[in-house]
């Protein structure tokens, strides 16, 4: 045991009100630790504190009590014996009357009440005593918010941990609690108060009616929960409070006589939050209270809902009202209760007789009501059908002959979609299928007339003959929707005959081929056909599927082949139809493949260059959409390989090869080839490689021996005659195969005995002649085959030897090619990448080989750090080491920062720096914001002189704004505020790119939220700069400028 002299000072320090709060905390923790570790016993502490607990000095007594209370909180897991607990609880209960020291008393009581049985808990009699004394002595409502919070927590503890004691007190407990929480306004406390009431009420299955009345009186004051001062600083949000209040009301059906009339009354106010919450509460209450209790309110409920639904309200209110209506319909209408349905029918009857075309809002409300009643249950749907469907269909059919009854059409479409939903949910419902008067059978009886009328309407818009029936597009849209619904009923319950089905497909297909393609009608018809297709595809009955193929798919395919539809739309339609199922997509794929080959022949052999654009679109569609869809849907390798081989077969024709590069066809073809190879399996990739390799060996005109020695003899390389177009085209296509193969696929050798260096030698040869695809392919090979050291060494040998003196190596293409090879190595995490990086850095910094070479080297960093769609990415199976960008970033930045001062051409170094910074992951950049911020600012200023750097300036500005958005980044910005503001205000009038001006102003706007004391000095400078932007020639910039000026003129915020 420790000597009292060692720990009593802690008590004194805590009790002394003149000490700081941190000292108080420290001494409290010290004593609590001593007690926890049994170095001092609790009894001893209490004994030493006796004076502080009993003194007449209010301040000291309250601090003393608080200390004891807090110690108890901290030793809640320490076992205490019964005597100690009893005496402590006696002490605290007796102190409840001492309002001056109440905080400590409440803390202590809470700690004791919450103790677990295993560590010694308070006795039942004491809990009872506590609860009695508490309600007698403590007037919760008069306490401060923190104390009230403690009180509520205490009482929650009583109601949850000591349930049996709380239950003994009966209804009085609820009343006492109600009295305590009355008029509570603080959101955090209110949350606890609601929780308390909820747990107290859950203790008693039934309370007297009076109790519910009183609870309702107190609680209803809070509806709707609404903060007058915003809810930013509260722990409890509006939604949480609103939900818990709703839960209390739903906890007992006995609230029903009070809450329902109250909510209905609130529904008629003009305050939209009240409306919204009333509807939400009503919905939940209706389902909780059940049909018996709600029966009496049916009429009032309908009247109130009717007013909301049929009057024009905000969208969210109407939506909530309709959801509430749906719940009411499903709960209130039972076989023996008909009032609610009767009321709805009354309204429908009155409206059906006099609905006018100009009252669209009313019509839509009616439509929603029909839709909801029909989708709730089969029996209700049948009632709707019996009562209204025949009437609506008849008036629609009648009106087709004269002027169309578009209202009936709309309502029929709503009912039909709802009942299709019903049958889709339970397709085997025997009640619906077998019973004679079920809605499905009624629908079957009328479907003939209905579909005939609808078809007539749809055909009227596509027929070329001038008919008497003048139709509006929106009506046809509705009719198309109805037909789609009729044709998409699940198998076995289709309401229409096979003949009607065929007619529907024909009519819809006609819209696709004949109608104006830009309209909504065309798009929704296509969607309808896709829906019908997917139902037909999944059904066991093959008839409909076959009919669909014949009438829709083949129709569309022939329209595509004969180009009767514009290409983009016909591709969109084909893709939509293809998405129905895998074999449909394969059907589409086959046709597209054929057309691609036909177009290649047309362009390259017959010289019909008008087809070039079509061919490119087709290739993009083929590789970008069909192949990716199929590869998501399953195995596509076989198909892809076949087409890749097919393309290679075409390349054997010299004439095709000669023209394939015109008008960008080769690029599209290469991309397609890459996609095809990348989705193939390794075996299939090998087959494609083999085939392409054979063709290369056969067709490339320059001798293959050159390839192996080319890099050793630059003179020969440069002096040899330039390659033919055919060779270059062939190499490009071969390069695209190599770029996309996976790392495991073995590369072909020129003959079985030699090593696998043929491919790399070939590409090295063409790369050194400045052929970019060859460089990319070489980079891919190097990236994927780490064992192929020879290729890497050959490349690096060019850099290291005195060959670098050869001017030929400092052409743009070759430097860029080296950058690609560097990227391949860096991505793999190969150390040899250093040599290439150093080569590029040297070129950029020294500028000794001219400005062009230096700029190309600087741009090389963009290639190395950036992501590319065309090669060395995940899709094309590149080997990627995690965090390679971060690694390279942290190596490059110090070098570039250092050389920024010494470089011959600062612009070049800034450009390289810009690429490195903007391509690196933002988190890495923000982490070092303080180091690079000044350099970023300096680079922006240097680069903004020249128009050709505008993209780099924009990327750097985006990095700057990224730093600005981050909390640590903000600190660096504040430190360098004057410089950053200087740069940004200069960019406000950047002449070369609007995006730069706009982003700069946005950055300045967001800087207005930085601490006022820091930004105050730069305010005049900002306002002056932004004022110029008010007169900018682009509207977006002017608007940003106004927003910025507003933000900065508002002064402190």
């Amino acid at each position: 045991m420790a000597e009292p002299s060692t720990w009593v000072p802690h008590i004194e320090s805590f009790v002394d009100a003149s000490r700081t709060s941190s000292q108080h905390d420290a001494s409290l923790e010290a004593i609590a630790t001593l007690v926890k570790k049994d170095i001092v016993s609790l009894l001893e502490v209490v004994r030493e504190m006796e004076m502080y607990l009993t003194t007449t000095d209010n301040v000291i007594r309250s601090r003393g009590t608080l200390l004891l209370g807090e110690i108890l909180v901290r030793i809640s897991h320490k076992t205490l014996d019964h005597t100690a607990i009893d005496s402590l609880s006696d002490f605290f209960i007796s102190r409840l009357a001492d309002w001056v020291a109440l905080r400590g008393t409440l803390t202590g009581c809470h700690a004791i009440l919450c103790r677990k049985k295993e560590v010694g808990s308070i006795s039942k009699s004491d809990v009872q005593k506590f609860s009695k004394v508490f309600f007698e002595e403590v007037d919760v409502r008069s306490l401060a918010a923190n104390d009230r919070k403690l009180c509520y927590e205490l009482l929650i503890c009583v109601c949850t941990v000591h349930k049996e004691v709380a239950t003994i007190q009966g209804e009085d407990l609820v009343y006492d609690i109600l009295r305590s929480i009355d008029d509570e306004m603080d959101p955090t406390c209110l949350m606890l108060a609601f929780q308390l009431l909820q747990s107290a009420m859950s203790l008693f299955p039934v309370l007297s009616d009076m109790a519910y009345q009183d609870a309702f009186d107190i609680l209803s004051k809070y509806f709707p929960v609404y903060f007058t001062h915003g809810d930013a600083s509260n722990d409890a949000t509006r939604e949480e409070l609103s939900d818990i209040l709703l839960n209390i009301f739903c906890s007992s059906p006995k609230f029903e006589p009070h809450i329902i009339p109250f909510l209905l009354e609130k529904l008629s106010t003009s305050f939209s939050l009240a409306k919204l919450d009333s509807l939400k509460y009503l919905r939940k209450c209706i389902s909780c209270y059940g049909p018996d209790r709600m029966a009496d309110h049916a009429e009032d409920l309908w009247r109130s809902l009717e007013t909301v639904i049929f009057n024009k309200e905000e969208d969210r209110i109407t939506k909530e009202a309709l959801e509430c209506f749906e719940t009411a319909v499903s709960v209130l209408i039972t076989p023996n209760r008909d009032t609610f349905f009767g009321l709805i029918c009354q309204k429908i009857d009155s409206l059906l007789n006099r609905i006018a075309p100009e009252k669209q809002a009313e019509l839509h409300a009616l439509g929603s009501i029909f839709a909801i009643i029909s989708r709730v249950s089969d029996s209700l749907c049948t009632r709707v059908f019996r009562k209204y469907f025949a009437r609506l269909v008849n008036s629609l059919v009648e009106s087709i002959k004269g002027s169309l009854n578009s209202e009936a059409l709309y309502l029929v479409s709503e009912i039909l979609s709802s009942c299709r939903g019903l049958i889709q949910r339970s397709p085997d419902s025997t009640e619906v299928i077998s019973e004679k008067v079920s809605w499905l059978n009624i629908l079957r009886n009328y479907s003939g007339d209905l579909s005939a009328a609808l078809l007539k309407l749809v055909n009227a818009i596509t027929s070329l003959k001038e008919e008497s029936l003048v139709v509006k597009q929106e009506n046809v849209l509705c009719a198309v929707k109805c037909l789609e619904v009729l044709a998409t009923f699940p198998e076995g319950c289709s309401p229409i005959t096979d003949e009607t089905y065929d007619l529907i497909l024909k009519s819809l297909a006609l819209i696709i081929s004949e109608m104006d393609r830009s309209t909504l009608l065309w798009k929704s018809t296509l969607e309808g056909l896709i829906q019908i297709g997917s139902v037909a595809e999944n059904s066991i009955d093959r008839r409909r599927s076959l009919v669909y193929t014949a009438l829709v798919v083949e129709n569309l395919l022939s329209a595509f082949i004969n180009s009767t539809l514009p290409l983009d739309l016909s591709l969109e339609a084909l893709y939509g139809i293809g998405m129905v199922g895998k074999h449909r997509m394969e059907q589409v794929l086959q046709v597209v493949e054929e057309i691609i080959v036909v177009k290649i022949l047309k362009v390259c052999l017959e010289g019909e260059f008008v087809h070039a654009d079509t061919l490119i679109s087709l290739l993009q569609f083929y590789s970008g959409r069909i192949i990716s869809w199929l590869s998501d849907a399953g195995d596509v390798s076989e198909v892809a390989m076949q087409f890749a081989l097919h393309i290679w077969n075409q390349m054997e024709n010299k004439n095709i090869l000669k023209n394939i590069h015109v008008m960008g066809i080769l690029d599209a073809l290469m991309m397609t080839m890459k996609h095809l190879v990348s989705v193939s399996t390794i075996n299939h990739q090998s087959v494609i490689l083999q085939k392409s390799h054979e063709i290369i060996l056969k067709s490339v005109s320059c001798p293959t021996e050159w390839f192996a020695t080319a890099f050793q003899n630059p003179e020969l390389l440069m002096s040899s005659p330039s390659s033919s177009v055919e060779d270059l085209n062939l190499i490009s296509l071969f390069a695209s195969v190599i770029t996309a193969v996976s790392a495991q696929t073995p590369l072909p050798a020129s003959n079985p005995n030699s090593s696998s260096n043929f491919v790399s030698n070939l590409f090295l040869f063409f790369f050194l002649r400045g052929h970019m695809p060859a460089a990319q392919a070489l980079a891919s090979t190097i990236n994927k085959n780490p064992t192929d050291n020879k290729a890497i060494e050959s490349c690096l040998s060019i850099l290291s030897e005195d060959k670098t003196e050869n001017k030929q190596f400092f052409k743009k293409d070759i430097i860029t090619g080296f950058a690609w090879i560097g990227k391949g190595l860096v991505m793999r995490g190969d150390d040899r990448s250093k040599e290439i990086i150093q080569f590029l850095l040297k070129l950029a910094i020294s500028s000794q080989h001219g400005l062009d070479a230096a700029l190309s080297a600087a741009d090389g960093f963009h290639i190395i750090m950036g992501d590319s769609d065309g090669c060395l990415n995940k899709k094309f199976h590149a080997v990627i080491k995690p965090l390679y960008k971060q690694r390279l970033y942290s190596t490059l930045v110090p070098v570039l920062l250092k050389s920024m001062k010494e470089a011959n051409s600062k612009e070049v170094v800034c450009r390289a720096f810009g690429h490195v910074i903007s391509d690196a992951p933002l988190t890495a950049v923000i982490g070092e914001a303080h180091k690079i911020l000044l350099a970023v600012a300096h680079s922006i200023i240097t680069l903004s002189m020249d128009i050709q750097n505008k993209d780099v300036v924009y990327s750097l500005l985006l990095v700057l704004s990224g730093i600005l958005m981050d909390s640590t980044g903000k600190e660096s910005i504040i430190e360098n505020l004057h410089i950053v503001i200087g740069v940004l205000t200069q960019l406000v009038s950047y002449p070369h790119l609007m995006l730069v001006r706009e982003t700069a102003i946005q950055c300045i706007t967001s800087m207005s939220t930085l601490p006022h004391s820091k930004i105050y000095p730069v305010k005049p400078q900002v306002l002056k700069a932004v004022t110029r932007a008010l007169d900018d020639k682009r509207r977006a910039v002017r608007q940003e400028a106004v927003r910025c000026r507003q933000a900065w003129s508002r002064g402190k915020n």
Binding site: T228, F271, L1030, R1043, R1045, Q1046
Partner: protein
């Protein structure tokens, strides 16, 4: 004391008073597009606004708000005239004089309370832009 709908408008443009009914000056027909003339070549803007009632005590504040909004939104080359529509206010002349006197506007904006009101009235007009 009754200042009619203008009062409603100003009070309600404070989002925390009643977020559900932010009537703007346009909705109250105090300012309409027809009552604004802009001459970009001559750098001149003229706004005529119509207080809702003749004795509207908010007319000056509304005018001041319009002026501040334009001051912040237009390049400095513009000369802005803000006028009460003829015959729509009892003290038309004095309001017009106040609103178009540079020094009185500057003095008004140095009054922190007044500036606060103006800022609060304007704040929604900057948020609703898309």
């Amino acid at each position: 004391m009754t200042s009619g709908l203008c009062n409603v408008c100003l009070r309600n443009s404070l989002p925390f008073v009643d977020p559900e009914h932010p009537y703007s000056l346009e909705e109250l027909k105090v300012v309409s597009e027809d009552s604004i003339e802009v001459d970009d070549k001559l750098s001149h803007v003229r706004v005529v606004f119509t207080p809702t009632v003749e004795h509207c005590s908010m007319a000056t504040i509304i005018g001041l708000c319009i002026r501040v909004k334009l001051m912040r939104s237009l390049p400095s080359r513009f000369k802005v005239d803000i006028l009460v529509a003829p015959g729509t206010h009892e003290t038309e002349a004095s309001i017009n004089k106040q609103l178009n006197d540079k020094e009185r506007v500057a003095a008004a904006l140095e009054n922190p309370n007044l500036l606060e009101i103006v800022e609060e009235c304007l704040s929604p007009s900057f948020q609703t832009w898309t």
